[in-house]
Symmetry: C3
Subunit: 365 residues, 3 copies
């Protein structure tokens, strides 16, 4: 069960994460941030009784000078006795992540920014621009036709290293396989009064614009909170869009993917510009992450799989995401070595590719 | 491969099963009841050559005083030399199930009732009312508008501890996310002449009525016999219905789920009122049940997973369902202990929750 | 990790494969034939960094007198220094396949025919007729109404032992559950001008005609190249077609199936005429094939699972398909023996069934 030394020592690029909370959390908030539920359920019991809950007690407690498997009560009491900044720094630094690519477009007021995150942990950070949030922030400021040029200008001049679409949450992943005409986009923007953007024409247009601007484009895929309909988040629904964009030569990154990680691996195999990760499903699966990680690597070329934590809010999730990624990668490589599937030097090379080199190539870091 | 002692000793609540056959079975009937086929296939060979078939020879033969792996012929000859009541009692008592929640709505004339089942095994039993059977039994007796009030009255006064929907078999799981208006239900009942109920409006209405009556509501999900179209039995199709009913505070239980058990775990994580099991897929997978069981537990909170056998007709299936559940639960916990994922006392606690405590809480037993 | 001796010695029937290339390959062509991508990707790196790429270096290099894990460069240099006929013979003979069922309908000009393949390896071969290619080859020669009678005549007099449909690539697997009327087929043929056949009416009609002619009918299912939309290749979409054809008593074979191999196993369980394999996903998964193979066998009766390589173009793929099938079958049986799931003599019997006996029964070889 130990982690191979050369995997333990890898520096990581976390190509998709969010910020940590600025303030302490109540137990209810802490539990609900551990996984994707809106809140704890009187019917179903505490979320500490879950894979990620037990992973917190097992792996995070010792970093707060508690014994392994400290109870939830002891853990939260100890955590609240420390300053949140200290807690965050502890877990961020223990993660071994040296570069964070941060989607700051969801609940920015509650979270540290990318720069603050980096400053806290002595790491670097780069921005990923969340397309729907960008459009929503502009909607009330400009006319529909101006919105198009304004989005284009923002993307063209952006310092971000990538863009992110949450189409999965808004309209599902069955995006059309053709760029919408500007006139159709203007009409759709006009019909969208204010607030949450859910129109598939506008969302598809944003995705094309990001690729036009040369920004590697991330899609949330697979499981997430109860806003989404899981069967509409199967990445193979993106096939027409991927077919239409393969020739542009700009990377598309499928995030999380669980339980469609095999479908994602297929798409990354057959489309030259598609990449994938296991994101959220790494810390979310706790001690079972290694099996799903191995599944995710069944048919994907090894140059097309990346690390991400998808950590949001709780600094524990960066640490667990990184730790369980290392554990799962180590288990995958150790199994391959035991079966003599590849020699040791290739195992080292695969590990470096997935830990940081693939991300560096995709995002030109 | 041994079962951990504290798992072997657990008393089980079987929260979803049917009755056993009143009479002996021919070989053809026995084979077809082992799995979900309508009958054996000359093209494909005997169903004893399957996971569940080998499990019968391995685990059931010794309870009839035969050697392990007795041949199918020896097994059936020995079985038929005994009274069916004796065979049934043997397997039911060996299962360690102390409470049966029985759906008696399918082929009741062939099967022992819940009370008879309980009497035979010295266990307790409670009824689960099958919604479509209830409506079908009333259809020819009352007018369409009376059917609504009659169903409501039956559910309100029912002694059942839960209700069950077989929407999967009738119209698929893509139920609407809103309660149908009574006038629409009356119209749909009027259009439904007699016989098998397949109308999605009526089926959705029945599901809402069960929850109104405070009855925990089971859905058949995933694989079953060839009546269903598997892709219409993906539990994520229930998302609009689950979103609409989350606020009612009454449990919804997703049964079987294979091969969508990961989707079911997701729904049980994000919706406060959703629970799941592996049902039929426990005995159906035989010696491979443990891997799928571990998959089913990847992201579900442990307070939301239950035991059921889904045994129908053959008493062997209660025994195998219980035995393979114990084996799989034991393998899951032993793996977690080996990885130091949770301490021993939590392993005991998780085992008790899944064996009976979650069911007791959900059904208020 | 060794292969059980009785599995290593099995002769194999490869019930679905294509021919090998007549000529040497460039590195780019070799890489793209290793998996399902149209070509290598500058963004994603070499396809030698994949499960099948490492399998070539591990298992194929020694057959060309290179050390295990020879580099890609060494491997291709050595390979190109030999005559392609010698390379092909080496891998074909090492596969232990004694009978090839060959779909020669895709790119026949580049590939050896079935007879040539057999002559090269000292094995036997039989033809599988590719339905869409047959119709396409006739389209320009005859009138729409004559096409129907001509197809019927060809199928009735065919020496082929089976037929194959690539509906998955043309219109998806949601074929209707009823035979199209001849008049509808004539209309659809008339509307189809020339070239690639994609009309679902014609494709469904071809499938019914093959079964009418008593030809076991193969369907490409699941992953393949980027022409297909994976979610339209779920075998459960075939349910209405399978329900409509169950009574005809002619086998239907679901090929590959990954990542829907569990769905395929379900269909093979509940429909008397349905069989399945893992095809392409055996060599495509390399050292991880055993886990997916075990998944594919979870609920399928053992008399309904076959071996195929789906090798196309590269002789290495026959060898790897056969070798990894043996490895996976051996791992499955060894695990079952370790768990005492079945006795040794049944393990031998299951192995023979899957290696050749099921194919011999299905295709009446």
């Amino acid at each position: 069960m130990g982690i191979l030394p050369f995997v333990a020592e890898l520096g990581l690029v976390d190509h998709h994460c969010h910020g940590v909370l600025r303030a302490d959390s109540t137990r209810a908030e802490f539990e609900s941030l551990l996984l994707e539920a809106d809140g704890i359920s009187g019917l179903g019991g505490t979320f500490f009784d879950s894979a990620v809950g037990f992973a917190v007690r097992r792996w995070c407690a010792p970093l707060l000078d508690l014994p392994r498997h400290a109870s939830a009560e002891e853990y939260l009491e100890r955590r609240n006795s420390l300053h949140i900044t200290e807690v965050s720094r502890t877990f961020l630094m223990a993660s071994g992540i040296h570069t964070f690519l941060v989607d700051g477009g969801f609940q920015p007021e509650r979270l540290l920014s990318g720069q603050e995150l980096a400053a806290l942990s002595g790491a670097g950070s780069r921005e990923v621009v969340r397309l729907e949030s960008l459009a929503e922030s502009l909607r009330s400021l400009v006319s529909p036709s101006s919105l198009l040029s304004e989005v284009r200008a923002r993307l063209a001049s952006s310092s971000a290293v990538g863009a992110k679409s949450v189409a999965a949450y808004r309209c599902g992943l069955a995006l059309p396989g053709a760029r919408p005409a500007d006139s159709d986009v203007v009409a759709a923007v006009s019909a969208w009064e204010t607030g949450r953007l859910t129109d598939p024409v506008v969302i598809t247009w944003l995705a094309f614009e990001a690729l036009d601007a040369g920004l590697p484009l991330q899609f949330h895929v697979g499981y997430g909170d109860s806003d989404l309909d899981l069967h509409r988040c199967d990445p193979s629904l993106l096939t027409p869009f991927l077919r239409a964009t393969a020739g542009m030569g700009v990377p598309v990154l499928l995030l999380h993917n669980y339980p469609f990680h095999r479908q994602a691996g297929y798409l990354a195999q057959v489309f030259p510009h598609v990449f994938c990760d296991l994101g959220l499903a790494t810390h979310g699966l706790g001690h079972q992450a290694s099996r799903v990680f191995a599944e995710a690597l069944e048919i994907v070329p090894y140059g097309k799989f990346l690390f991400s934590s998808d950590a949001f809010g709780l600094p524990e999730l960066y640490y667990l995401g990184a730790l369980l990624f290392r554990q799962a990668l180590s288990d995958f490589l150790a199994d391959g070595l035991r079966r003599d599937a590849f020699p040791e030097e290739d195992a080292h090379r695969i590990a470096r590719m997935m830990a940081s080199e693939n991300a560096a190539r995709v995002y030109r870091l």
